[in-house]
Amino acid sequence: MSELPQLIVDGLVSGAVLAIAAVGVSLVYGILHLVNFAHGDYLTFGAYAGLGVTALGLSMVVATVVAVAATAALAVGLQLVLWGPVRRRRAGLLSSFITAIGLALVLRHAIFLVVGAGSRAYPVDQFSVERLGPVRVSISQLIAISLSIVAIAVIGVLLARTSIGRSMRAFADNPELAAVAGVDVGRIVLATWLVAGALAGLAGELQGLIQGAFDPNMGWNLLLPIFAAVVLGTIGNAYGALLGGFVLGLVMELSTWSVLGGGIPASYKYVVAFLALILMLLVRPQGLLGRRARAL
Amino acid sequence: MNASLRGGTGAEVDRTRLLEVRDIVKRYQGVAAVDRATLNVAEGSITALIGPNGAGKTSLFNIVSGFARADSGSVRYRGRSISRLPPHRVARAGSVRTFQQPRVLRRLTVLDNLLLAGPRQPAESFWRALAPGAGRRDQELRRRALELLALVRLDDRAEAYAGVLSGGQRKLLEFAKALMAEPLLVLLDEPLAGVNPTLRELLLQRLREVQAGGGITFLVIEHDLGSVLRVSDEVAVMSEGRVIFQGSPEATRRDPAVIDAYLGSAEAIVASGTPG
């Protein structure tokens, strides 16, 4: 019976994309206290940046590099022209949130304007599969898995081992103390966007790959699951977001496992995922990796 | 239940024990913030609760006011256990607290901050708020609120947002707010910190007046010992989670353990046992 391992692999693949994107959202929220509603559209931007490169006949490797770099540049650029000034106006969480809704509209439809509405695909064989034991995996999925392993390793090293990564986590944990400890806030903000943008670019491209075909609504459609992953793993905790992404991906795919009372119909995937999230929060109000807040 | 706590059992209440704290223990992450603290507050008194930073005074306040639950021990108020009551029930029973960091409602006016604390407001119910004449009780309360604001010299700021008040003014507002609730017992957490010397005198004076006139009992955490010892009838000293001394202000000043606990010892030594 190969159903279960297959579902696990499928869950890990879609979870990987959520995880990678969620780390960025989580860092941005933890460090900038910004609910970036436009993050899904950063993903879309990355996917199309990569597509542009493949359209020139260059390889997926180059496309990946460009997608990552271009989205990172977009994120940093938007910090400079939009979020920085907004922050200086001391806009509250909610007016920033409305600004992000506006930005999401602008980005998505700018992409529509440039690339048109049709769905596109990377020049990657979507059909041939590799057999790994009981599991069948497509080339795209293999690329996605390997890239996300690399990305997660890089994220892990970056956050845990590098000075900038530590500073980012420190800032998310306790911004005042981070300033005290000599962390340059301005640099951290830019670094955060750089990392979040790069990860969004990568996640966008991977999503485009595993989806096979994509259109400018791709990232927008992923936004809610990404946010759910962030929350599942504890808001502001980057490692938690990684974990949350994988858990969510697995929960969604495994919900169709036929052993579970014949499998929950696929159209209830999101219902299962969201219910799992709500139940988890009721049991662990601080998220998977959160510490229980000290009373008073 | 509230009603009975407030007034019903007056006859059986031991006047020397309006508030009775027994062997309270509260641990945070394994560290005992309050460690078998025992304390009595006599009705009509001003009792000072003093002690160095980190002695557990505020933790004890949180337990008495229902904001935290003790790991063990009991709190009795007017002869009844209130250890398990939520904060709003404790407050409705007439035991009102203030906070060390004044918790004023920043985007409400100073006057609204006070009016909020006024008891018995039928128009706090949605439907009654819609009924004609719902504002009548507010008019009564407003008079008293303005009196209290005048008492703490904030009457000229009545219509300002409480968020623009200075730290000292916020303290005064907290004090007035506690009185507005028509309490039997007021727990004041460092009412003088950050208050300038003239207002400080004013506040102490008011404290005395109110206590004398209104039959209100005060339990006061305060660092400004000079001031607090002057006005209090009784002093309890906390150190490292315990009440190490309870007695008159004079006795407090003379007690070496208190002085050590307070000024600190030149060497880091374990403070010696609790006096009887």
Partner: protein
């Protein structure tokens, strides 16, 4: 461009949004609750009404009342389970709840008509309608008006009047209650829950009440939406609708009750007015590009409005900075 037919439609949509956002105003503007699943209340009320009329033969007004009650009950359910969560976690729980509601409406075809919407409530091949009484009432009113005044008043204009009448009534009720001690208690909870409970306010019960009341108001918006459009599908209740209510609320000024209708009108104008952006040189673009451009312009206007007036139209900057 100034045709009243179009603008009365825009106006009535804005009115529905005003009522809808007023519910959010009670929940967030007064009580500080970050409800990101507000649209669920609207969906539950509208669907409850339609299902009760079509399947159980209830009178329309009874079904409408039941719909509002159902929205309120759902609000209570969400509150009872989740109000103790931190604000941002509460926000995500509510949005998840609204998505669960939408997917269930989509997938329980036997009960709800599924993706086909309410028209499929009786199953395939039969067009179900839940507002026949209402429509004939409106028709009678139109007849009466035209026989009395000789004016032919369109259905949209009647609905416009009715919806804004309801909106005004609810606004006044909420406004009245919010300046009364009731509102003061809620605002105190918004500012500092512990401070509120320290003076004897039952914070949890109050938050629950605000949530239920906001849900009921959103339910009323749902019922009006159903009556206006005569037909709806689960797609009408996407999360985006909640965010539009937030836009309305923040545009108007979150803590100002009368900011809500203003925000709703501005919002309606933003979406409808940009449909007229077809002059030169925009007219050189093809229809799709113009449609994208329209949403880009809406996005830019939102960004600009929030940049220059982060406190909203009626909000006070000082109040915002005190947050």
């Amino acid at each position: 461009m100034l045709d009243p037919g179009f603008w009365s439609f825009v106006g009535l949509t804005a009115g529905i949004y005003a009522i809808f956002a007023l519910g959010l105003q009670v929940q967030y503007g007064l009580a500080g609750l970050l409800n990101f699943g507000h649209v669920a209340s609207m969906a539950i009320a509208a669907y409850t009404m339609a299902i009760l009329v079509v399947r159980f033969g209830l009178a329309e007004w009874q079904a409408a009342a039941a719909g509002i009650a159902a929205a309120m009950a759902a609000g209570l359910l969400v509150g009872l389970t989740s109000l103790r969560l931190r604000a941002d976690y509460f926000a995500i729980v509510t949005i998840c709840f609204s998505e669960i509601v939408r997917y269930v409406l989509l997938n329980r075809q036997d009960l709800t008509g599924g993706p086909e919407g309410t028209i499929g409530l009786l199953g395939r091949g039969q067009a179900a309608a839940y507002n026949t009484d209402w429509d004939s009432l409106i028709a009678r009113v139109r007849e009466t008006v035209s026989s009395v005044t000789g004016l032919d008043v369109s259905r949209d204009i009647l609905m416009l009047l009715l919806i804004w009448l309801v909106a005004a009534g609810l606004l006044l009720v909420v406004r009245r209650a919010s300046v009364m001690p009731w509102g003061r208690v809620l605002r105190s909870i918004r500012e500092d829950e512990e401070a509120a409970s320290s003076v004897g306010k039952n914070v949890f019960a109050r938050k629950l009440q605000a949530l239920a009341l906001g849900a009921a108001i959103a339910g009323a918006a749902g019922v009006l939406y159903a009556l206006q459009f005569s037909f709806f599908t689960p797609d009408d209740f996407e999360p985006l609708v909640t965010f539009f209510a937030w836009v309305v609320l923040i545009l108007g000024g979150a803590a100002r009750v009368f900011g809500v209708p203003l925000g709703a009108l501005l919002f309606g104008l933003l979406f409808a007015g940009t449909r007229f952006f077809d002059f030169w040189p925009l007219s050189l673009l093809d229809s799709a590009d113009r449609a994208y451009l329209r949403l880009i312009i809406i996005g830019l206007l939102l960004i600009g409005l929030m940049y220059y007036r982060p406190q909203g139209l009626l909000g006070r900057r000082q109040e915002m900075l005190l947050e």
